[in-house]
Structures are given as structure tokens and as C-alpha cells.
Symmetry: C2
Subunit: 447 residues, 2 copies
């Protein structure tokens, strides 16, 4: 195919992807689920697990190998924009103020799933359906631990805001613990990937390069970027030059972190944290989010779905393993956070709600799994099992939260969410709604 | 290269493109030129005309062949989004109300350049440096005529608004004549491309398919789309589902028009015209424009620049031809519109200002030229000559306008630009500024 033929076929492919993601996402919302659940499933449906089974030729025509570089590059662009937005949402001040109260939940939400995931990985290693041959025991343990410890932070934040809980004890605890856990899990993943080169020098460069990057961006970078925020305060709008600058920094950050051997999403996430807050972050999110969540991210769901082959889970033993993985995930993250919240003095219904929220893995888990697959850490069957776990834990969150807490919570945001957290979240629609957000946007979480 | 390597190299390439376009664009503004002039030149600089001469290996490393499908697909996505925004700006009501007064300028701005371009093409055809062997006489004439008749409408509109002329006689005349001429030129181009297939059936399908498309979209489509506008009026924001729907329609429109044999930008332009106006158009533009103009369009400038080889214009004869082409372009469009405005009763300085505005070709010309090159109508040397003409006519516009009219015009928008035209244009920053626009944005036109 010529470039022109490729481009026009890509337009058609993208249109089909957007239609299917939109339809299945809307169906999910109709069933009382967040849209992201539907989009995760839509991606799987368009892959070999359904479309490839029913109409293999159509699937091959729709997703030809030649288009794969374009699909991949755009989905990666979507991912780094998305992780940048997640970092932009990360509220350092909120974590600092509330981490005391949230420490128990946050620690439980890291240590327990991480330990359980690590133990599980030991029983799986050595089987090439799960981990590739070159993976050492502790690399497998670190990866599986990180994968178990991930939280769908953007979805959690969206739910907290939509239920008007941003200023409540439950809300600040969940926000602080969730964002803290996510940051730790991404750092752990960075270590896994950094250590994955056989050569100690490569690993050192990756870890050293990653630390230097984080220190420079969060230190000098944050101070330099403050100017952007001050100028934004006066105009009330992200200027074209500021937007272009942010995009250039984002691309360079992603390129650099990938170059030293840490994944690009880590670089994008850290850059998002370093951005000035307030009006600038709000305007920047409104500028970048609609295209990211509505156009680019669906490509990632599909790219991920193309690698999810439910047909590989073809024995009772593998289905049993899937059940065990889901159980371990729920015990390690959901139940551990529930108990930790209970021990911290929260009521039973609030504790269960916190556990359900922390337990959802969402899109964040898919990002991590795709990195593991592309870096050759895990093999396609385990990838598929973990995708099923991600979908299952995300599916469970809504009904459990609703059952435990829904009837007691206000359906609309309380009059004044406390502090900046509320203001920040007010505009956020990422993951939960996958949309342009704001008070006028569609709620992803049915009241 | 693997997909992952391609994607990360693409990130770096995109960062470099954005940096160079931003820098040269800012330099242009510093010199009193619109940003688009700088970006057009930036694209040429990164191609074989400069970077390829100075550092051929660096150029090859930065723009490897393997990345060309990704670069092309994204630049095409940028183009259809851009042409959609141009269509969104097209004010049917304004043209209808003012076409009486603008008819002379509009007709002069089509007929004279079209005729002169056609005559010029006859002297050039038969030489394979200009037109490819398979092109018939009247195809060459139609293409050259359309290329001469193009106006940089978005830049014109931006200047009119920024000088507070949207409600003035000069402003409405220029807006009506410019948008009318552009629509006609794109339709002519559609005919050229449609007829380019040797087979009469192919040409019929293209012309028939194009007419059916335009009738359906502007008839039934416009009526169906009206709902979007009514719903938007209540929330004040483009909802995620409306945005996704617009993107899906835009992709399908581009795909369909390409499939029947008319170029995708035509489909996107017509769809933009069919969109509901008012708050919806305003919000939609704010959602789509920043990414389109700041991230995607620079890719097109570079893609176009990669095909511009000033080294091909290597004889005194070819440089003479370049001068003749520029002269014909200015006589055909600029001088003809000036005289037509003068005959319509405008003052001398206003008439010259109108001629200068109508004469600028801008990005719109690059779009048309790249279509001609990729469809095999024109050959690289003529492409390069025409790019030089596009840059020259765009460069001339600012000083001539400023000299003739600048000192007399208000530097800021008048208190109340009349009617919807003013409201619409207020938010438009495409081409002129290549930015997010609005009152807070950087002016592309120095006061």
C-alpha cells in the first residue's frame, strides 16, 4: 500500500474503532458501569478473541499488518498524553496533608498485593506460557507485584468527585492513598524494566537516568515551569505557545525516558506532576483531554485487545489460574485496603467502599501489562489472564461501591469541595468518563 | 525498526518539528509576518532544500523512510481536521447577505487568475519538469487555474477580525468574496481530480459521488446535525459523545470522498459547512483547534517541505519562470481584486488592502499543491516553483496591507462586530495564528 492508501485505510480503521468503543462504552454506562470498562471490553472484542474468531478475514482486512506502526505510534502518543494528564491530577499537597491518615491504607494497598503477587509469580515462573525464559525470579516477582498493586487512580478520583466526596474523610483518604500507591507502582515498574537488561551497566543507566530525570524535572523543572502557571493566571487560557511548549516537553520527556531504558509513560507521568497547578492545569487539561480520551486512547484499547487471546486460556487449569489471579488481586488490594480502613477507624460501609475503589485496575493495569508484554517479561497467555483480572476488578468496583456506600452518599457534588483537590478534580474526566469532563459532561457514574 | 522503536523515534521527530516550526514561526511574527509564513518556510528548511544540503545524513536519520507512513497519516489527519475547521468558519449567511456587493471581487478573484493560470499551463505542458506525461491540456489548465485562484481564507478572516473590520464594508466584502472563492476553487479541484482517471466511469463515479455527497451532507446531514447544536446550547460545552460523533463523521467523510476519487479535504470541508453554527461551532473549534494547529499541522508543513527541492530550480530559465508565476499570481488575484473593489466604489487604500488579502495563498495553496503532486498531476520542479509562489504571495500580503490600510484601521476589534460573523470569527485563530485563538491569544498580526 502507498502512504496515501495507508492513510485513508487508517481513517476508516479509526472510525470503526471509535464507533465500537463508543457503543460498548455506552452499553457499559447503561449497565451502571464506568465507560472505561466498556472500552476495555471493546478492545478485546475487536481482537482475535471475538472478531478474529467470527470473521478472521474481515479482522485481517480491518487491521492489516502494514497499519500496525501507525496504530501503535498513535496509541503510544495517546498513552503518554494520558499519563501526563494523570500526573497533572496528582496532588502533591493533598498527599502531603493527608498521608498520615492514609498511610495504613496506602501501605496495605502496596505491601499486601505486592507480596501476594510476588509469591504467585514464583509458582508461575519456569512455565513459558507465563514468563519468558530470560526473566529472573525477582524480576517476575517485581513485575507481578507491581501489576497487583496498581490502582485505576483516575477512575477513583472521578468517582470521588462525582459523589461529592472530595472534601470528606473518605474522599481525601482514597485520593491520597490511591495516588500514592500508583506513583509507587510506576516507580517499581521503572525498576523492573531498568533491571531487565542482562548487562549491569544498562540497568544502572536506566535507574540512574530515571532518578536524575525525576530529580531534575521535579526540582529545577518544576520551578522553571512555574512561569507558565503565572502567565496563565492572567489570560485564563492556555496560549498556543504554552501548549506547544508543553507538547514539546512531553515528547522529549517520553523520548528521553525510553532512551535510558525506562518506559515513556513514566517520563510523561513525572512531567505531569511537575506542571504548575491551578488555572493553568485546568486549562491545559481541557485543551489536551478531549482528543486524548476520545480519539487516541481507543486506539490503545484496541492495540491491547489485539494481543489479548482468550483462546489461549484453553484448559480448566488455566481458567482455574485465572480465578486464582482474580482472587489474589481482590484479596491483596481490595480486602487489604478495606481492613486497613476499618483499622484506621472508618465505618464498615465506608471501608468496603474504599476497598472497592482501590481494587479497580482499569486502564492503568492495561498500560502496565502491555509494557510487560512488549518488553518480553510476560507471555501472551499470562497477559490474557491478567487482562481478564483487570476487567473483572474494574467490573466489580461499581456494584460493590454502590451496594456498600451508594445509598448514603449524595448524588451530586457537595456545595464546596475542600481546597484545591476539589477544584482540580472538578475538571477531571479522565478514565472514569473518558470525556471532556466538567460539570456539563456526561456522568460516567450513574447517580 | 520495531513498532516500539518507530514510535519513540517518531516522538523525537515530532518534537524537533514542533521546535523548528515554533521558532521560525515566532521569527516571522517578530518580522511583522503571520506565523503561517514562518511555518511554511520551516517545512522547506527541514527538507532537502536546506537541511538535506547541509547535513544529508542527519536529515536522513531524522526523517527515515520507515517513519514516512506515520508522518503522512498524521499530517493527513491534521489536514482533514484543518479543512473541517475552515468549513466550520464558512458563513453561509454572510455570503448570502453580502454576495451582491462582493460579487465583482469574488468573480474577478476566480475568473482572472483561473484564466491566466490556464493560459500559463498551456505553455508549460509537454515539459515533464512541469506536468506529468499523462495529463491532458484541460486537466493541466484546470489544476493551474485552481492553484492560482486559491485564497488563504483563514488567514484573511483572522486579519479582518484582528483589525476590527468584521463589521465594516471592507471586512464583510473580503470575508464573503474570500470564502466564496475558496469554496469554488476546492470544487474545481475536485473536478480535476475526479477527471484524472483515464476511465470515464471512474471520473463519473468521482463527480457523481462528490455531488451526491455534497447534496446529502448539506441537505439531510445539516438538518440531522442541527440537534447537536440545540443540545450544545444548553450545556455550553461540546460533550464527549458529541465530539466523538463529529470525529467519526469526519473520518468517514474523508474516507468516503477519497474512496470515490475526490480528495479527503473536500469531504472534510463540506462536513464543516454542514455543522450547526453558534455555541456548538465555537466550542467544537476550541476543542479541536489547539491540537490541530499546534501539533498536527506542523507535520504537514514538514511533509510538504520534504518534497520541495529548491535545488531543482537550477537554471536561469526556471528562476525566470518562478518570477513569471509569482507575477501572474499577483496580477491574476491581487491586482484583479484590487481593480474590482475600486470599480465597486471602494477607496483606493481599501481596494489595495482587499487585493493584498485576497492574494495571499498560505497553507491552502500547499494543500492543493501536495494533492497535485501526490496524484501525479504536477512534477517536483513545478511543485517547488508553486511553493515559492505560495510563500511569496503570503509574504507580500502583510506589508502591502499595512502600507495601504494599516495606519487607518483600528488596532483592536471595534466594539461590536456586526452579526454572527463577528462572533464566529472572534474565536478563530486558524492559519493566521495557528493557535488556540480568542481574545487572550497571541496576535498573529502585529497591531
Amino acid at each position: 500500500m502507498t502512504n496515501a492508501e495507508l492513510a485513508i485505510h487508517f481513517f476508516f480503521q479509526l472510525a470503526v474503532i471509535l464507533i465500537v468503543c463508543r457503543l460498548v462504552g455506552s452499553a457499559a454506562r447503561w449497565l451502571g458501569q464506568p465507560r472505561v470498562v466498556g472500552e476495555m471490553i471493546a478492545g478485546v472484542l475487536m481482537g482475535p478473541s471475538l472478531l478474529g474468531l467470527l470473521a478472521p478475514e474481515l479482522q485481517l482486512w480491518l487491521f492489516p499488518q502494514e497499519l500496525s506502526p501507525i496504530l501503535y505510534a498513535l496509541s503510544q502518543l495517546g498513552l503518554v498524553c494520558y499519563m501526563f494528564l494523570v500526573g497533572l491530577e496528582f496532588d502533591v499537597g493533598l498527599v502531603r496533608r493527608h498521608i498520615g491518615g492514609a498511610a495504613a491504607v496506602s501501605l496495605a494497598g502496596i505491601i499486601v498485593p505486592f507480596t501476594l503477587g510476588g509469591i504467585l509469580s514464583l509458582t508461575l515462573r519456569g512455565d513459558e506460557r507465563f514468563f519468558t525464559a530470560g526473566v529472573s525470579g525477582w524480576e517476575a516477582a517485581l513485575f507481578m507485584g507491581s501489576a497487583m498493586a496498581i490502582t485505576a487512580f483516575p477512575m477513583l478520583a472521578r468517582i470521588i468527585y462525582e459523589r461529592g466526596l472530595a472534601g470528606s474523610a473518605l474522599g481525601t483518604l482514597a485520593l491520597a492513598a490511591g495516588s500514592c500507591d500508583d506513583a509507587i507502582a510506576w516507580c517499581l515498574l521503572a525498576v523492573v524494566l531498568a533491571s531487565f537488561g542482562d548487562n549491569a551497566g544498562i540497568a544502572l543507566m536506566a535507574i540512574g537516568g530515571g532518578i536524575v530525570y525525576a530529580l531534575v524535572v521535579l526540582g529545577v523543572g518544576r520551578r522553571l515551569l512555574r512561569h507558565l502557571g503565572q502567565r496563565a493566571g492572567h489570560t485564563g487560557q492556555v496560549s498556543p505557545s504554552a501548549f506547544a511548549l508543553v507538547m514539546i516537553l512531553l515528547l522529549l520527556a517520553s523520548w528521553y525516558t525510553d532512551l535510558v531504558g525506562i518506559y515513556a509513560v513514566f517520563g510523561a507521568f513525572i512531567l505531569g506532576i511537575a506542571m504548575p497547578r491551578g488555572a493553568f492545569a485546568h486549562d491545559l487539561r481541557h485543551t489536551l483531554e478531549p482528543v486524548t480520551t476520545n480519539v487516541l486512547l481507543p486506539l490503545f484499547f484496541v492495540y491491547s485487545g489485539l494481543h489479548t487471546q482468550i483462546g489461549l486460556v484453553d484448559t480448566p487449569g488455566l481458567w482455574l489460574l485465572t480465578a486464582v489471579v482474580i482472587l489474589v488481586a481482590c484479596l491483596g488490594k481490595g480486602v487489604a485496603c478495606w481492613l486497613a480502613a476499618r483499622l484506621s477507624g472508618f465505618e464498615q460501609r465506608e471501608s468496603v467502599a474504599i476497598g472497592a475503589l482501590m481494587n479497580a485496575r482499569g486502564l492503568m493495569e492495561l498500560i502496565l501489562l502491555n509494557i510487560g508484554l512488549s518488553q518480553g517479561v510476560i507471555a501472551p497467555p499470562l497477559f490474557t489472564i491478567m487482562v481478564l483480572m483487570a476487567v473483572a476488578t474494574t467490573l466489580i468496583a461499581a456494584p460493590v461501591f454502590e451496594f456498600a456506600y451508594g445509598r448514603h452518599a449524595p448524588a451530586r457534588p457537595a456545595a464546596g469541595p475542600v481546597g484545591r483537590a476539589g477544584q482540580e478534580l472538578q475538571s477531571s474526566a479522565i478514565e472514569g468518563d473518558a470525556g471532556a469532563g466538567g460539570p456539563g459532561a456526561e456522568p460516567s457514574w450513574p447517580g
